[in-house]
């Protein structure tokens, strides 16, 4: 699709002092959609935060390279500037801080010329109520509205890669479809590479995936195409030794 490349090699990560991700490999090219599925406790959120560099989630081994730049050791904001975006599972409220002022800082664009217009366009594309654009970040938004807000920010920031941590939770069927359409569009629009981490199969109903990975106990135990989704739908994670 384009030249961007995200390479995760033998990644080990700790959360709360305990190793949760035990040597994970993943290669994502610009424009590809990878879905990582795993049961509760398989290390999904730790993986997401290890990629983004959340304080308290420690990478103890391996590497994360984005277009050849090593992200391990960089703080979250520098990883974001290098081209990685994380849509959080539970986006927090930031009282008094508008979406526009936060994104103006993220883009180093204090003039904000055109930013309001971009926000309005992105809001329209995913059915995010324009009235919410004037609210403080996530304040008084429902879980589903917060998820749309993450995708809206993704659309404004246009990073080469995004990691989506349970983007499907809290979204109803229509909202999930709108988000999935926007993501697929982004893969061609600017060659976005997607790593969608989820517990649920239903994301795969809406989002066309180039590769599906099954995460169990901090390792990818199986990788495949749509046939793997069908298998997971039938048997769940049982065949991987998970009840």
């Amino acid at each position: 699709m384009n030249g961007h490349l995200l390479e995760v090699r033998d990644l080990h990560a700790e959360a709360g002092g305990r190793e949760v991700v035990h040597g994970l490999d993943l290669t994502v090219r610009g424009g590809e959609v990878h879905v990582i599925m795993g049961p509760n406790g398989s290390g999904k959120s730790t993986l997401a935060h290890a990629l983004m560099g959340r304080p308290g989630t420690r990478v103890t081994g391996g590497s994360i390279r984005l277009d050849g730049v090593e992200l391990v050791g960089l703080p979250a904001w520098e990883r974001a500037r290098a081209g990685l975006f994380l849509a959080l599972q539970q986006p927090v409220e930031v009282p008094g801080v508008s979406l526009q002022s936060a994104l103006a800082e993220a883009l180093d664009q204090p003039g904000r010329a055109g930013l309001a217009q971009r926000l309005a366009e992105e809001a329209a594309s995913i059915g995010f109520d324009r009235r919410f654009l004037d609210r403080a970040l996530n304040v008084d938004l429902s879980g589903g509205e917060r998820k749309r807000n993450e995708i809206l920010q993704l659309g404004v920031l246009r990073p080469p890669f995004c990691v989506l941590d349970e983007i499907d939770s809290g979204l109803d069927v229509d909202a999930l479809a709108a988000v999935a359409r926007r993501l697929e569009q982004a893969t061609t629009e600017w060659g976005l590479g997607v790593v969608a981490i989820t517990h649920f199969h239903r994301l795969l109903v809406e989002l066309r995936a180039d590769a599906i990975h099954v995460l169990v106990d901090g390792r990818i135990v199986s990788t495949g195409g749509p046939e793997l989704a069908a298998e997971l739908e039938q048997t769940g994670y049982r065949s991987y030794g998970v009840a």
């Binding site: 304080p55 703080p75 904001w77 009282p95 936060a102 800082e105």
Partner: protein
């Protein structure tokens, strides 16, 4: 000191009372955690009727920003129209007197601790704002108290006692902005302001108090409000300056269905001490009070918030809400938050909440995961913390000034430099 006979007599009576009133002690609840015992009165001298300083250009700029249509100005507590200060054009329904009749002072706050007695003994020109019954005043009346200060080299520094009284008549509506400024740079000074806000039946007063003294000032202020039946007081006070800056706000809902909405904020840095005391006093049935107070301390600054909700017997079906949030931005800074309830009636609803802590890590991580640099993320979160309360200022025309004043302090704090 000048003034009508009754005022001069009031001063001397207050002075006699001051002499016999014990100096506050940090052992008293209402002074706990305060450094009041360290205040050396001998280091100050009442200014009296002298206006020591010409108004600086900074005063004009401040007045122009807050009050494009002019302000009532006192310099070192003395009301006069000096060079560069034009007489204020008052809105219809508003008149200003300098305490021409007995009873203009002390309708809301009469007597009190040693500092109030001291104030009453040395107050020079009280500013008394009278809003006629039924008047609806559409632009704020602005009062500026400019305090000159003096270099702290041997000679006593000036002590100034600004007094503002607002009386809103029955079914009248008005807004008042009061600014206490001065004692800039390395200068020193003691400022002991008393403000009385008296709102008659069905009246409404919107009040903003802005304290932007330099960090060489000691500020020991009292704000006392009272609302009558079906009346409302909405206030916002912002404390930014002062070495020690205390503001005690007592709001009495004295008439049935009276409402008090109290907002305040403070920012401390360097070795400033902010001392905020509030009393929500419910004396009548179906009264409501809603208090939100937010502060931040950085460097070696500290703050005390102590708030009491009191519901007197007979104040049935009253509702009181009290919230205090504190951001502690550095390891050397400290905030205390002490909520108290004194409820004498059963059928009431009172809630209080308080937090003390650093900037929320999840909020910072959220912004940083978008690519916002850590110092900018902290600046955004902290200014949002204050923006949230400033936006609720009851006088919309000063919101921009309040944001800029807070923003200027936050720029100094979050740029990591040592604040003056």
């Amino acid at each position: 000191m000048r003034g009508p006979e009754w005022l001069r007599r009031r001063r001397s009576e207050a002075f006699e009372e001051f002499v016999t009133t014990p100096w506050p002690s940090a052992k008293e609840d209402v002074w706990r955690y305060s450094p009041i015992e360290a205040l050396d009165l001998d280091a100050y001298r009442p200014v009296g009727d002298r206006t020591a300083t010409e108004p600086p250009a900074a005063l004009d700029a401040l007045v122009a920003r807050v009050a494009p249509h002019g302000a009532v100005v006192t310099r070192d507590g003395v009301r006069d129209i000096g060079p560069g200060l034009s007489p204020v054009a008052l809105p219809n329904g508003v008149s200003i007197a300098s305490a021409e009749h007995p009873g203009a002072l002390g309708t809301v706050l009469d007597g009190g601790d040693a500092l109030v007695r001291l104030h009453d003994a040395f107050v020079s020109d009280p500013v008394v704002i009278e809003v006629a019954a039924g008047a609806v005043v559409d632009r704020p009346v602005v009062v500026v108290h400019w305090i000159g200060g003096a270099p702290g080299t041997g000679d006593p520094a000036p002590a100034v006692f600004p007094r503002t009284v607002v009386h809103v008549g029955r079914a009248a509506r008005a807004s008042v902005v009061e600014v206490v400024a001065g004692v800039t740079g390395d200068l020193r000074g003691l400022v002991v302001p008393v403000t009385e806000l008296d709102v008659d039946q069905e009246g409404q007063l919107d009040y903003v108090g802005l304290q932007v003294l330099g960090t060489g000032a000691w500020h020991v202020g009292r704000l006392a409000g009272r609302v009558g039946t079906d009346a409302a007081l909405r206030s916002f006070t912002l404390g930014l300056g002062g070495s020690y800056a205390r503001l005690r706000t007592d709001a009495a809902a004295a008439g049935a269905r009276g409402r008090c909405e109290l907002r305040s904020a403070y920012v401390g840095s360097g070795d400033q001490v902010h001392d905020i005391r509030t009393l929500q006093d419910h004396l009548a049935p179906h009264t409501t009070s809603d208090l939100l107070c937010k502060g931040a301390v950085a460097g070696a600054a500290r703050s005390v918030y102590s708030g009491l909700i009191r519901v007197r017997r007979g104040a049935v079906r009253s509702e009181a809400l009290q919230t205090n949030h504190n951001l502690v931005l550095d390891g050397g800074s400290h905030a205390d938050s002490v909520p108290n309830l004194d409820i004498e009636e059963n059928d009431v609803r009172c809630t209080h909440a308080s937090t003390v802590g650093p900037v929320d890590e999840d909020q910072l991580y959220y912004l940083e995961s978008r690519g916002v640099a850590p110092d900018r993320a902290e600046r955004l979160v902290v200014s949002g913390f204050f923006g949230d309360v400033i936006a609720r200022s009851p006088v919309p025309s000063v919101v921009g000034v309040l944001e800029d004043e807070v923003g200027a302090r936050l720029d100094r704090i979050t740029s990591g430099g040592v604040d003056a």
